[in-house]
Symmetry: C2
Subunit: 336 residues, 2 copies
């Protein structure tokens, strides 16, 4: 058996159980382009095709299956959440000046920033338009709220770049908004669409929130310690952009005043940034381990949120996802 | 009596009848900032304060008054449509590289493009979130659809910059989407919220669509022939950006092959752009007059859409608005 890197494997989340459902969702996502004016359709089709592991759709389907069964509304929820996610990626790539995503030119690289701003807006507006088709207005409202959280989390992150006073609590709130909000919308609304009790819906929401947070911490660790060839994207970009992630915040917490001065110089680019050195230090003093532990603890708690729900293959698959992420986090540690 | 220019007067649309209602809406718009995370609130408050003639809110209120009375839902509709409009202005200013709007620095000039992309997204998401509070899901869906039309109209415009083959029909469709969609949403939904018949709602929609289209043609003419000092913004920018507006399209239509070659050189910047010369030619051959006539004809038809509705002060005010725009268009012609 060949060895795979943490994130080459990250591309193969254990979604086997819902593969047939995900294929329907995939076809529906690609189909959405047809709802647009012919002058816009091509752009929409391109960004829908060229993005994503479809984690949010998979979670919506799994949550549906674990709380009473998957129906047409779960598939619609999947499509909507993925379109909101795609819209946010289109705008992220503008802000990051990214040219390549998943091996293909980004919308902003292909068609410029102006068109990409509008394309993201159109996708987003269309996703919310689809969301009005749910009988229950609360579903639409929750999707709009989660979408706003994604944007506000990103604003928060943009504001706090290069801010060495960013607290761990602020960081956690930021990633809950920018990443976990759509994860938890997927799992919570999956249960709401099956008319389940507030307790079940809340448990599902909490599972998604913790999973999404742990996933973002994993992604942040990977940016510091991952292997570019295996991951298939440029790493070390967070620090260059001034995004202070959990292992770095832990490193700052543990530093003496003299060490803090050294770190400040490196992080604020007083000296040329050397991500490898910083990653080495973070590993040496145990900050990466601590971030990995924080994420793993969240996964333990995510599994606990599922306790008491009826045992179904879908519930088991949700536990497999946390198990899978545990594994990725362990490998992250091994790489460091 | 002092002489005022077309658009210094454009700042004082005849909204007297609904002034008290508009003040409530204004307070509500400024209040929305509080619904945001404290880290985002300041940005939202700034862009909500620093923009707009509040035409869309006024139309929603007038339509409500003309179809049975203004209630809380009309005020909510007003706030939502204005927030969608503000979101689109924030993104427009990024794309146009505009530093000043209404005498104040734009969001992108103050905080950069990245933050402004996200700020526009957040405003937009929040507007759609508010829209889920309407009992009737069709209201929310129509708002999302109109918002998407605004974005797609802008995409269309971006695509067709410097395209001398742009037809008048394409131009009309573009401005119906990018400008008139929110006008017609205001007037149509104002009637729908009063539970009026499809006929009344459609008539109101058509009035808004024609008024919005005429308004955009006026704005386009102004960019060509207006007086910067009076208008209070940089003019002649459409042509520099390759936006071909109705007077220019009419000019191209009327040109001989030899004249077309000259125009092409000017419009595609083969020669240094001289807006004054181009405006002079457009006036001389009657293209500005023709554009003004097209807009005025739309206003006549907009008034016809109101025939048959019960006579109320609000209906009369809607006719005053078309009358006011007739007047502005006449002055546009006089300036040229």
């Amino acid at each position: 058996m060949t060895q795979t890197s943490p994130s080459a494997r990250a591309l193969t989340f254990p979604f086997e159980l819902v593969r047939p459902e995900l294929e329907k969702v995939e076809a529906a996502i690609l189909d959405q382009a047809k709802a647009f004016d012919p002058s816009v359709e091509g752009y929409v089709a391109y960004v829908c095709k060229s993005s994503g592991k479809r984690i949010r759709p998979a979670l919506a389907i799994l949550s549906g299956g674990a709380t009473g069964g998957v129906n047409e509304e779960h598939r619609r929820l999947s499509v909507i959440l993925e379109m909101v996610h795609i819209a946010s990626l289109v705008h992220d790539d503008i802000m990051d000046g990214a040219d390549i995503r998943r091996g293909l030119p980004t919308a902003s690289a292909k068609w410029g920033n102006s068109l990409s701003v509008l394309l993201g807006d159109s996708l987003f507006a269309y996703a919310l338009e689809l969301a009005t088709e749910f009988e229950d207005r609360n579903i639409c409202r929750s999707i709009a709220k989660a979408s706003r959280d994604v944007c506000c989390g990103e604003i928060f992150q943009t504001q706090r770049r290069f801010d060495l006073n960013l607290s761990v609590a602020d960081y956690m709130r930021m990633i809950e908004m920018k990443t976990a909000a759509l994860f938890s919308a997927a799992t919570q609304l999956g249960a709401m669409l099956n008319g389940r009790s507030p307790e079940v819906c809340d448990a599902m929401r909490d599972y998604g929130m913790k999973l999404g947070t742990a996933y973002q911490i994993y992604d942040d660790c990977l940016d510091l310690v991952g292997d570019e060839k295996m991951v298939g994207k440029t790493l070390g970009t967070d620090l260059v952009k001034g995004k202070l992630t959990l292992p770095i915040l832990y490193l700052l917490q543990s530093a003496t005043d003299a060490q803090k001065t050294k770190l400040s110089r490196m992080l604020l680019k007083g000296e040329p940034m050397d991500t490898t050195v910083l990653a080495g230090i973070a590993d040496y003093v145990g900050s990466i381990e601590r971030a990995v532990q924080t994420a793993k603890q969240l996964l333990v708690e995510a599994d606990e949120d599922l306790v008491g729900l009826e045992e179904t293959p879908h519930l088991e698959a949700m536990r497999q996802i946390t198990g899978y992420l545990h594994n990725l986090l362990d490998k992250c540690r091994a790489v460091a």
